[in-house]
């Protein structure tokens, strides 16, 4: 049985194919489209999944599963506007056109795009996350914790996984969300929401947690069991286009940092304080999940599960013996969870937990490409080497401080490069971090790099003796020493201070975000680490994703070669081909990005085939004919002209439809512009004449759909879930 899982239309569109419970393929659309966090329908990712499974078309699928329930999300959106109106118009005008044109019709879009007539499932957003965390895990039973910005209404859930079932037991509801809190600070610190959260986490160790109490007393009411409420007075994501309100900035005594503006100690202290609060919340939630389920295993998913510093603390300080984190913890992973729910819940198929390893296949679930064709076509100078010789040569180059683009096998599923689309370097070189950030990745100099370490030697380098195959655990570096450079020193001085024998992967707080490499999971990457270890005695390499700032990690061979040639990498390894930068012809400069209006973009999506142009000619001819008929008695002269126009349109449509292309373009662009204006005029009227009065009445009746009270005497903010399992509920969009 082939089940296609899809996540789309918010951020990180992705597709996944599960056959008889086995994950065959999974990929994010951004890797193909080259648009970071691409949220469009994942056409390319779906085509790839079908190809990988040997299916000729999507009509051969048995089931399609979309990762959330669109109607409930729509309910949350409009309930929010009802709850804040007459505030919220700007946000309403931005969000609602997308909903009424696209998101509410998702089921039809899926049918049209896939040409699929079978059953389409709609599990809940957090249920998809929970399934993606538990089903591929090695555990027979586990507590499951999912934490993100928001799904339908839930922002956090605690569940129990056992056998082939994962059941959600507790949840927190919008707008009270750890993920939204983190994103609000990401915004305040001048980074992009939904992608800059990593930067906040990387920035935090440079600061002092001097705002922690302020956050816990003014912004977050945190209960001992990890449930929380946000003080909505300081946030603007409910009604505005920004995450934080003016009073938020007043609270911290400084305005929001402008994007790309200088980072000061204030920003680092804010980041550190937020990170401290986040870790405390994650720990309390994990403890509560343990109390509720009694399990000694924990599975994590949702965007907040990418907070690997928090994950590391849960492992070290929490009540669980083992934890497993879905590597595609964000919304892309929802595609995987939805497909697995189709198999285990909807079709009630059994699940076998291997116990020793997971079913995620090292997350190497994306497409593989043969580099031979590109190398021959572009006459790329290269050396073809056998496996052993390749590992020897690359290890020697790494020892010689060369930076290597390492391109092997299938693409990783999830945001981290795990040794198949990686940039590698020697972690013992003190200035390697700066060199990689400035010359190769073109990103902020404060950002740390992660180590890949031989699984069997992880405990020698780090305070960790568990597998961390997906780079989702942070742990202290062993033999690391406090830097002699104190916190009052500048950014650069603190960065350059040597803190351990592997300084390029040791962050300023003597920690590292670790990837353990197991010979059974990625034998080629393991062999390279082994070769480097044999030369140098060091079983660790810097592993960072093969991309530059603002681009998704490379996917096809062409992407890798282009990225290699336009950055300061020294060598590229494509499979068994070793490519030396010095022997390459320089690439022509990248063409400047073309700025196109949204109207031109939308016009490109309109059918412009000769058939469509013929229909256009006839339609215009008929309209001009009707106008002629209406005018002919009173304005015969004008009617003569419109009559001629009618005949010309009809004749052109019949005999030379392509001659109408220019008129079609102008007319349809006018149509799109009018549509844009009219939609907003009508929506503004709906907002003030319908939505606002209904919202005011609702509040007068005390029926607001979400909680706004900040501090209440309740012991907990967790809500129990009482919905019994009902198979048919998956077929419903609510």
């Amino acid at each position: 049985m082939n089940i296609l899982g899809i996540s789309a239309f918010y951020h990180d569109s992705a597709a996944c194919l599960v056959r008889d419970g086995e994950i065959i393929a999974a990929a994010q659309e951004e890797r193909f489209s080259r648009k970071k966090h691409d949220d469009r329908f994942p056409r390319h990712a779906i085509d790839y999944c079908l190809r990988e499974a040997g299916l000729a078309s999507s009509s051969e699928l048995d089931l399609v599963a979309f990762y959330e329930k669109p109607f409930v999300k729509c309910d949350r959106l409009f309930s929010t506007y009802l709850g804040v109106a007459p505030r919220g118009l700007q946000s309403f005008l931005k969000a609602v056109p997308v909903w009424i044109k696209q998101k509410i019709w998702i089921k039809q879009i899926l049918r049209d795009e896939l040409k699929f007539e079978g059953t389409i499932l709609f599990p809940e957003h957090h249920e998809s996350h929970a399934a993606s965390a538990f089903f591929p895990s090695p555990f027979e039973d586990a507590a499951v914790l999912t934490v993100d910005g928001v799904g339908e209404w839930a922002t956090t859930t605690i569940g129990r996984g056992a056998g082939n079932r994962v059941d959600l037991l507790r949840e927190l509801h919008f707008p009270h969300s750890l993920g939204l809190l983190y994103s609000a600070f990401t915004y305040y610190l001048g980074f992009r929401v939904n992608s800059g959260e990593y930067k906040v986490m990387g920035l935090a160790p440079y600061g002092q947690p001097r705002f922690t109490d302020l956050i816990l007393s003014n912004l977050v009411d945190l209960k001992p069991d990890g449930s929380l409420r946000l003080n909505l007075d300081h946030f603007d994501f409910m009604a505005g286009l920004t995450m934080t309100s003016r009073s938020f900035a007043q609270l911290f005594g400084a305005p929001r940092r402008a994007p790309e503006a200088e980072l000061t100690q204030h920003h680092m202290d804010v980041a550190r304080s937020l990170q401290a609060v986040t870790e405390e919340v994650m720990l309390r939630m994990a403890r509560h999940a343990h109390e509720v389920t009694g399990s000694s295993n924990l599975c994590l998913a949702g965007g907040v599960a990418l907070n690997c510093v928090g994950n590391g603390r849960i492992l070290r300080e929490g009540p669980f013996e083992k934890i497993w984190i879905q590597p595609a913890a964000g919304d892309a992973g929802g595609a995987l969870g939805a497909a697995l729910l189709g198999w285990h819940h909807y079709h009630d198929q059994p699940r076998e937990a291997p116990g020793t390893h997971d079913a995620q296949k090292a997350s190497l679930l994306g497409p593989a490409f043969d580099p031979a064709e590109l190398v021959a076509r572009k006459e790329i100078a290269h050396e073809q080497l056998g496996d052993d010789e390749l590992m020897e040569r690359v290890a020697a180059l790494l020892e010689d401080r060369q930076v290597i683009g390492w391109y092997q096998g299938r693409v990783e599923f999830g945001p981290r490069a795990l040794g198949n689309r990686s940039i590698l370097a020697d972690p013992r070189v003190p200035d390697m971090q700066r060199r990689l950030n400035e010359k190769i990745k073109f990103r902020e100099s404060f950002r740390p790099f992660a180590p890949a370490v031989l699984r069997e030697r992880v405990a020698e380098y780090f305070e960790l003796d568990e597998p961390s195959p997906y780079m989702l655990l942070v742990a202290p570096v062993k033999a690391a020493v406090e830097s002699s450079v104190d916190d009052s020193a500048g950014f650069g001085d603190r960065l350059r201070a040597v803190r351990s024998p592997i300084p390029a992967v040791t962050h300023v707080d003597q920690s590292a975000r670790i990837q353990t490499v197991d010979v059974r999971e990625n034998p080629r990457f393991h062999a390279l680490l082994r070769a480097f270890e044999q030369r140098t005695g060091c079983g660790v390499l810097i592993n960072t994703s093969f991309n530059v700032r603002g681009e998704p990690p490379v996917c096809a061979v062409e992407d890798a070669y282009r990225c290699f040639m336009r950055t300061g990498m020294d060598y590229l390894v494509l499979g068994n081909l070793l490519i030396d930068k010095r022997q390459q012809q320089p690439l022509p400069a990248a063409p400047p990005p073309t700025a196109r209006s949204w109207i031109a973009d939308d016009y490109e999506r309109i059918d412009r085939s000769p058939r469509a142009l013929r229909r256009f000619g006839f339609t215009m001819g008929i309209v001009a004919g009707v106008i002629t008929a209406l005018l002919i008695r009173r304005y015969p002269a004008v009617a003569m002209t419109t009559g001629v126009v009618a005949v010309l349109f009809a004749a052109a449509g019949q005999f030379a439809p392509t001659s109408l292309a220019a008129i079609h373009r102008i007319w349809m662009q006018i149509s799109l512009a009018m549509g844009w204006v009219m939609t907003r005029v009508i929506l503004t009227l709906v907002f003030f004449l319908v939505l606002t009065p209904v919202g005011l009445l609702q509040r007068l009746a005390g029926k607001r759909a979400f909680e706004v009270a900040f501090r209440t005497p309740e012991n907990t903010y967790w809500k129990g879930r009482e919905t019994p399992f009902e198979r048919e509920s998956y077929e419903r969009q609510y």
Binding site: C74, D75, Q698
Partner: protein, 53 residues
């Protein structure tokens, strides 16, 4: 068209089953507007329809 009408039908069931009466007037009005927009978009008739408003 049938698919879209069936979605509208399911949405109505959702409002009814979950007793989302506060949402009904707003959402139904917007759904009808959405139907009009999605049906007229890409059609040469759209500017004539818009001028009716």
């Amino acid at each position: 068209m049938n698919g879209k009408l069936s979605i509208l039908g399911e949405f109505w069931t959702f409002l009814r089953v979950r007793k989302k009466w506060w949402l009904a007037p707003v959402v139904l009005m917007l759904l009808l507007l959405g139907l009009l927009i999605t049906l007229s978009e890409g059609s040469a008739l759209a500017p004539f329809i818009y001028s009716l408003f």
